[in-house]
């Protein structure tokens, strides 16, 4: 089931209504049934993977808990069982065909015969999210950071909690498990705050992301038809599309959970205001970044190692992060690029600081910030080319042609009698292009306000009628401008 579907419009109020009506002791059961129903709207048979994953991790957790901290070695086989089974599921469904294809290509190259069958398996929705969530649980139990959950039902709910099941935020057991056992009463402020966040997330998804997708898909599905300006426009549009798509989903997930009294972790903090790539990763998909920090970067030694090893650790984490996103070379290059940015950023940090001081840039605070934000955005966009392109070949074409053909593009624009005409290059109607720019502007303005103030406090301080009008305006905008035909969330494929 998708958050932006009619089914969810019926499902969610029903679940919330029943949730607050039911006695506390039955609520976990309601949410568990609701979560499985939510998932099974997509595929019924794939719910079995959720059951298997839940049972294995529950058993492993309980077995590890039988041994004290001093007997950690005896916990290890159970940790391995959990990790191997989770990664095994992930490998089978997500990565097998990729490795199989790569092996076949390599064999062809070497002139060796290789014939392993390819699986025709549909990638289970949200598999990377829930397997990472359960793996973090097992690791935390192993290190004694949390106690294993005894209640199988509550644990199953932790794995499948519907607001964040298919696209995160990837929750930690330490944050969510405890909340699942708490009693949450109806709280007006909390419920309205959750609904507000859901509406804002829906706006970002169906109005901004899905409108931008029309033009992005046009160019990225046929990139060789374009060069120069349209490639730049489509790439910048994709930067906003993916931000609104994914952060919109996260807002809806956090909002839906908040309505029922659960606090999920923040997943996005206006990432395009970052002044460096390092800062970007502190603001983008925070639940995944912190997961990799806690469960990969730090175990690798983090920054408490010699410099070259530190750089290696950073690079490896981003490479794995790229691979987490998808079994495709494009994602690997995207991850590698971000790893390179980070390492290069660390290596040159002092020199860049000195240069900025010497030319007096630091005295011009706003200009300096603008340059930092702008250059970070450009680097992020360059990497997005690899993330969005269908193949490495397409990505290579775009990166090598993005700064070409300006003369041709400009002559197309100047030969037209229309005054504001970049849309001509994208082959779309003026209105589609202008609306896309308008919605991006609205997003930037709202994000700028949020960067400085707590927008929630601002809205709450407004007179009641103005506040209600604002909500109505948001609803009307969604109804009149939302694109409901392009329903998939980009991150569902991960």
């Amino acid at each position: 089931m998708l958050f932006n579907s009619f089914e969810f419009l019926v499902f969610f109020p029903t679940v919330v209504g029943l949730y607050f009506l039911l006695p506390y002791r039955f609520r976990w059961l309601l949410l568990l049934i609701a979560s499985y129903t939510f998932y099974m709207f997509w595929r019924v048979d794939y719910a079995i993977i959720l059951v298997i994953s839940t049972l294995i991790d529950y058993t492993c957790g309980r077995m590890m808990d039988r041994y004290s901290e001093e007997e950690r070695a005896r916990r290890k086989p159970w940790l391995w069982l959990s990790l191997v089974s989770n990664l095994g599921i992930l490998f089978t469904f997500k990565y097998y065909n990729f490795f199989n294809g790569a092996a076949s290509d390599l064999a062809n190259l070497l002139g060796v015969s290789y014939a392993a069958p390819a699986f025709e398996l549909l990638l289970p929705m949200g598999i990377s999210f829930y397997t990472f969530q359960t793996m973090s649980y097992s690791i935390d139990v192993y290190y004694g950071r949390i106690k294993a959950e005894k209640h199988l039902g509550i644990f199953a709910l932790f794995v499948t909690f519907f607001p964040q099941l298919v696209a995160g935020p990837i929750e930690r057991a330490g944050n969510l498990l405890g909340q699942l056992k708490q009693k949450h009463d109806f709280d007006y402020d909390r419920v309205t705050s959750g609904l507000r966040l859901m509406a804002w997330g829906l706006f970002k998804k169906v109005v901004v992301a899905d409108r931008l997708a029309i033009m992005v898909n046009q160019v990225y599905n046929n990139p060789t038809n374009y060069e120069g300006i349209p490639l730049i426009i489509a790439t910048v549009f994709f930067a906003f599309q993916i931000y609104c798509d994914f952060s919109g989903y996260s807002d809806m997930a956090i909002g839906a959970a908040r309505v029922m009294g659960f606090n999920l972790m923040e997943n996005f903090r206006r990432p395009y205001f970052s002044k460096s790539i390092k800062e970007f990763w502190g603001r983008w998909h925070i639940s995944l970044s912190t997961w990799f920090r806690d469960y990969l970067y730090i175990p690798l030694g983090g920054n408490r190692v010699v410099k070259w090893r530190w750089y290696y650790n950073i690079f490896i984490v981003f490479l794995v992060s790229g691979f987490w996103h998808g079994a495709n070379w494009t994602f690997l290059v995207w991850g590698a690029l971000h790893g390179f940015y980070q390492v290069f950023g660390e290596v040159t940090k002092r020199k860049r600081d000195n240069l900025a001081s010497q030319i007096g840039l630091k005295k011009w605070g706003s200009l300096y910030s603008f340059i930092q934000i702008g250059s970070t955005f450009v680097l992020v966009c360059l990497a997005w080319v690899f993330f969005r392109a269908n193949t490495i070949g397409d990505a290579w074409y775009i990166t090598t042609n993005i700064f070409m053909g300006f003369t041709e593009s400009l002559s197309t624009i100047t030969s037209s009698s229309v005054a504001f005409k970049y849309y001509i290059l994208l082959g779309k109607a003026k209105e589609v292009f202008v609306l896309a720019l308008l919605f991006i502007a609205v997003l930037i303005i709202i994000d700028s306000i949020q960067e400085r103030y707590r927008i929630k406090s601002l809205i709450v301080s407004y007179p009641s009628l103005l506040r209600l009008s604002l909500y109505s305006f948001l609803i009307i905008t969604i109804i009149l401008y939302g694109n409901f035909s392009n329903t998939e969330f980009i991150y569902f494929q991960f």
Binding site: F6, F186, Y188, V191, T192, R211, N221, N222, T224, N225, A429, E431, V432, L435, L468, S469, Y471, S472, F473, I475, I476, I479, L480, Y481, G482, N483, F484, S485
Partner: protein
Amino acid sequence: MKRFVIKIVGVIALSIALYAIVLFLYTLLGFNRWLPNARNTTGRGYYTYSRLQELQTIKNIDILFIGSSHMYRGVDTRVFEKSNISTFNLGTSGQTPYNTYYLLKEHLDRIRPKTIVMDVYLEGMDSDGMGASIEIVSNHELTDNMLEMVNKKLNFETANSLLSIYISRFHTPLSEVIEVKPTNDYYIPGGYIETNKLKNELTEKQLKNLKSHSIAINDLQKTYLNKVVELCNESNVRLILIVPPLTKEFKNNISNYEAFINNLQILLHEKGVLLIDYNNREELILNTFEDFLDANHLNPIGALKFSYLLKNDLSELGINNHIQTK
């Protein structure tokens, strides 16, 4: 809880009022193109209004051409007129079998053509036909058939569009609509659209880089194609399906073109309907740059070549003989 319910009711009431005001103003000011979910195209588009207005005057013709833009850009009815064959071209943008069925259901009894020539709009066979539905309903009287066509897939887009169409009818009766004429394109009585663009708009590079894709027919379109066949059978009208010419570059990029056409041919043959593919006719020599407007639409020169061949084919098939070819 009481406070929450009051606020929710307030937001809903305010939203309904605001929605009505916005839709009313946008429709009356003709700003619908700025409302992507309220696509009221009354008096706009490629002469759908003119065509549907003229349709009201059409009766007892020899051939009715029906289908997508490939029909109204590809079949020049003047070619048939010269041979004293009465025709009408009821092509509308993006028309699929789903839309064709409702148009025929509405008008077939009155038009009473001897033969219907319907195009297979390859790119629309896997769609829900809603874009075309809105375009047709925007320029048509709101009859039961037309409303049924839109209401079968009621969502925000169709509901908003329908409401906007009602508002515009309330403001301006359909007969008084002043059509916005597209530049470079001219409506020829009989339904054909002639353009003054005589060279292909796409560059050689763009044509070379067309993305390979496959085509399919979904259950909805298959069902309605069958319904069109049944409707023609019931009305004792001969139905012929055609695949209008495409540029070779476009056709070559459809990975399953031959298989799709073969399967469709088998399906239609079982129902006694003839399918003619004009992309496999050696006598029709078309040049991508001289005879086409883009990747798959003919320009007037190409349309003339195609229309003459089509006329000859239909003459050979005996267009005045309205007995079903089984």
